[in-house]
């Protein structure tokens, strides 16, 4: 019976398609980014200008950063809808800290921002895992509670740019020497994406996260620490949203109670467009970050082409549908090929 056990070479090639497709997805988004950028530049050469590209990268950076944390949560078959509110809370509280401590080292801004975010993430994660409440509900509640708390703290005030240390603001607008289109903010986010992407490939806890999202029951049966890993994913998502808050403050230098409103849905959209399965188990942080860049670029491109800002929402929605339809189509095709391929291997 050994003969029939040998899969045909064609089968094993097919079997690897899942992996290849993931990479193809990232390539596809890169292609879309280049295409949108190129076409828009043809119509409006200002789009490739120094300020425009800077603005593009700065704008996309925050979403890409949040998308990284969101990816970890969604891969576990959960969702974090509180990231926008967390970003707003962190931005305001960091600003408030600088207002009262004008000579504090700027690194404190990041420490405080990350701590605030991690705290909210820990609460989200604890409620989700300890009380087995669907994360959709938990983080939706957190979205409102955090925003309400923020409104209470802010009480109609606003942090102005003169309260923020100059050095801190520079992170938001300074560019890398010699590459005047590349802001430091983007460099920082690229580093975060690269580090997390590497970790997601290289560590057991990260592979556990994929296993949990792929088949939660099997994960528990295999003795994986499911609750702890899901908790960690929420803490990371919160921490990155908190870091995002500090960067938001550095970028805009002024903040009120509304910072980050509505970001959560843009972040989830970016993650899905970036090829992360909404029911968990697969997808990469690089894909999600690229998804954020693409969505952001389309926003700005429509502006540069003189299309009404209202249309950007419709386009974002259409892109989301296209991405999901594409996933479904590819998924069905691969499933069919794998099945017929497998069936064929039993008959010599």
């Amino acid at each position: 019976m050994t003969v029939i056990d040998q899969p045909t070479p064609a089968l094993s090639v097919l079997a690897r398609r899942g992996d290849v497709l993931l990479r193809a997805r990232e390539l596809g988004i890169c292609l879309a980014i280049v295409l949108v950028f190129g076409l828009t530049t043809l119509k409006n050469s200002g789009f490739a200008g120094v300020l425009s590209v800077q603005q593009l990268l700065t704008g996309a950076s925050l979403f890409a950063l949040l998308a990284v944390g969101e990816t970890m949560v969604i891969v576990t078959r959960n969702v974090d809808l509180s990231v926008g509110s967390v970003l707003g809370l962190s931005a305001y509280l960091v600003g408030d800290y600088f207002k009262h401590n004008p000579h504090a080292p700027i690194v404190m801004g990041f420490v405080i921002g990350i701590a605030i975010g991690a705290l909210v993430g820990a609460i989200n994660g604890a409620i989700t895992t300890l009380f087995r409440v669907p994360s959709l509900v938990v983080t939706l509640a957190a979205l409102y509670i955090v925003r309400g708390f923020l409104a209470h703290v802010v009480n109609g005030r606003r942090i102005e740019s003169d309260s923020i240390p100059e050095a801190f603001q520079k992170i938001g607008y300074k560019t890398v020497p010699g590459i005047d289109r590349l802001p430091w903010l983007a460099v920082l986010v690229i580093v975060v994406v690269a580090v997390v992407a590497y970790m997601m490939k290289s560590f057991r806890w990260a592979r556990d996260i994929y296993a949990i999202g792929s088949n939660p029951d099997a994960a528990a049966l295999a003795g994986l620490p499911v609750a702890r890993r899901v908790f960690t994913a929420f803490v990371v998502s919160g921490a990155l949203a908190g870091l995002g808050g500090a960067l938001f403050l550095a970028e805009f230098a002024t903040v009120d109670a509304s910072g980050g409103t509505g970001y959560e849905l843009q972040v989830v959209s970016a993650v899905v467009v970036g090829g992360v399965a909404i029911f968990g188990g697969s997808g990469t942080v690089v894909g999600a970050a690229l998804g954020a860049v693409l969505l952001n670029m389309i926003n700005q491109a429509l502006g540069a082409l003189g299309v009404s800002a209202f249309w950007t929402y419709a386009v974002a929605g259409a892109l989301l549908l296209t991405a999901i339809a594409f996933d479904r189509w590819v998924g069905l095709r691969v499933a069919r090929r794998l099945r017929t391929g497998a069936g064929g291997s039993y008959v010599v």
Partner: protein, 513 residues
């Protein structure tokens, strides 16, 4: 792994690997296991036999560490052990292969084997090369080839089980429990699984094998333990047992005949299938089924048998060919039209396709007959209950209350509910896919008697079955499908295991259709 004493034939070695003695387990008032006892020696394949509800699953779950027995004792290598949970059982060298393995579809095969304990290199980082190497090593020990780098998604059930066995082996499991592993496998896959099991035994492991297919027990196992009603009945060498003696021990009575198909006179053609084709799945399939006839569609799983049934019933569209029922051609892709023409389809997977598991028994029975039960657009609950009660009596359904969810029934009784659901429509043509998969011997015989009775009353039955004894016992004619083509039609008189298997595997053409 210690040296494996030779015991494959008759001699029992001195030291058993695992002993379970007089284990008792109750769930509420129900005593699922009154005397669970089994002894496993290294290097043996040991069958655990019993009807559904005999306590096999409970015994397995005790070995798996999922349930803790209330009394009794468990010895491994002569040392008493208690399993606090699945992890403890696994650490003691016991691995369970379930009928439906639970893999991670998005992860690679290698990662599935080593999840949670992947080999590491510096800085606690994963070492994918080492992981792939070890996975290949395990597969080599099993004598099978599965690409460790491929995604688990899309693996056949058989390959998924092999991955589970590889996982067990990578844990250095010495006791491997296979809980009905063959129920969803093709014959070729069963052969391969048996080869793997024999390899494990040769390496000194003990395999506890559970199956409803008794002939498999004779193929694979050296000893067998038989259970009835939660109690140990007997352990014996398989060579000293016969199918009859096993069944007597299992049911505590003689079954007159397992497959009571009585001879019937075939009447006019009720179902005619002409050059039916679905691209890439099956091609040019033509046959007919007459009144009073059971026609079996045999072949390996994946040959396209169920797909033909789905296309006849209109669940899948056909690309070419016609389906004619009582002289009227059925429109393409319309189950409603097929139902209206008097066709019923009992699908192979009752949990996924046949039943709404959390819905009450009576709702499930009535599901296909709602058109007849309604008055002015509202369903009459009383008529629904009556219908269900009527069929429950006719099929001797064992149930608590008709309001209970179907999920509370045993597998055999669930199958009866699916049958009732379709028979309630009074079909002329019954297509039934794997009529007795995973149900116990007693219920099996009841289902067979029922089918016999139905064709006696003038129904035409198209039966798909992977169990050759069932095909040989029940069918008036056997159609064999291989790789999507009808390759043989064998009359009852000429049909035997050999002729069907040859046609199904393409080793020799038998009177091509």
């Amino acid at each position: 792994m210690s040296s494996a004493p030779d015991l494959t034939q008759t001699a029992e070695p001195a030291a058993p690997l695992l002993v379970l003695e007089r284990a008792v387990k109750s769930f509420g008032a129900v005593r699922a296991l009154e005397d669970g006892s089994v002894t496993l020696y290294p290097g043996e394949a040991h069958a655990l036999l019993g009807e559904n509800g005999a306590g096999k699953s409970t015994l397995v779950k005790i070995l798996a560490g999922v349930h803790q027995p209330e009394s009794g004792r468990l010895l491994i290598d002569g040392e008493p052990v208690t399993f606090s949970g699945p992890a403890a059982s696994r650490a003691a060298g016991v691995s369970i292969i379930y009928q439906e393995p639970t893999l991670f579809p998005d992860l690679s095969v290698a990662e599935n084997i080593f999840v949670g304990r992947q080999p590491l290199r510096g800085g606690r980082r994963l070492n994918p090369a080492e992981m792939a190497r070890r996975a290949r090593e395990v597969f080599a020990r099993l004598g099978v080839h599965i690409d460790p780098a491929r995604q688990a998604r899309g693996l056949s059930v058989a390959d998924q089980q092999i991955v589970e066995i590889a996982k067990a082996l990578s844990f250095n499991a010495r006791v491997i429990v296979m809980d009905e592993p063959t129920a969803a496998l093709t014959l070729v896959e069963v052969e391969r699984l048996f080869d793997v099991a024999r390899t494990l035994c040769a390496q000194g492991a003990a395999v506890l094998f559970i199956s409803h297919r008794l002939e498999e027990v004779f193929t694979l196992c050296q000893r067998a333990t038989i259970m009835r009603d939660g109690r140990f009945v007997r352990s014996a060498l398989v060579s000293e047992l016969t199918i009859d003696s096993i069944i007597r021990s299992m049911v505590g009575r003689d079954l007159a005949a397992l497959f009571p198909k009585t001879a019937t006179e075939a009447g006019e053609v009720l179902l005619e299938v002409d050059r039916l084709t679905r691209e890439g799945v099956f091609t040019d399939v033509s046959f007919d089924v007459r009144r009073g006839e059971i026609v079996a569609l045999a072949g390996l799983v994946g040959a396209g048998r169920s797909e033909v049934a789905r296309a006849i019933f209109g669940i899948d569209r056909r690309d070419a060919g016609t389906v004619t029922v009582r002289g009227k051609e059925l429109p393409n892709g319309s189950p409603r039209a097929a139902m209206a023409a008097g066709v019923a389809l009992v699908p192979e997977d009752r949990r996924q396709q046949g039943l709404v598991m959390e819905m009450a028994i009576d709702h499930n029975v009535a599901l296909a007959s709602l058109d007849n039960l309604q008055e002015r657009g509202l369903i009459r609950r009383s008529r629904e209950r009556l219908l269900a009660a009527d069929w429950a009596t006719r099929l001797q359904l064992k149930y608590g209350r008709v309001k209970n969810p179907v999920s509370t029934l045993s597998g055999g009784n669930q199958q009866k509910v699916v049958l009732a659901k379709w028979l309630a429509r009074g079909p002329q043509v019954l297509i039934i896919d794997e009529p007795t998969r995973g149900i116990d011997v007693g219920t099996k015989a009841e289902v067979h008697r029922l089918l016999d009775e139905l064709v006696g009353q003038g129904m035409a039955v198209l039966m798909i079955s992977s169990e050759l004894p069932e095909v040989l016992g029940m069918a008036d004619r056997v159609l064999v499908i291989r790789e999507g083509r009808l390759v043989a039609e064998i009359a009852r008189a000429d049909a035997d295991e050999d002729s069907i298997m040859r046609a199904a595997t393409g080793q020799l053409a038998v009177s091509p259709a």
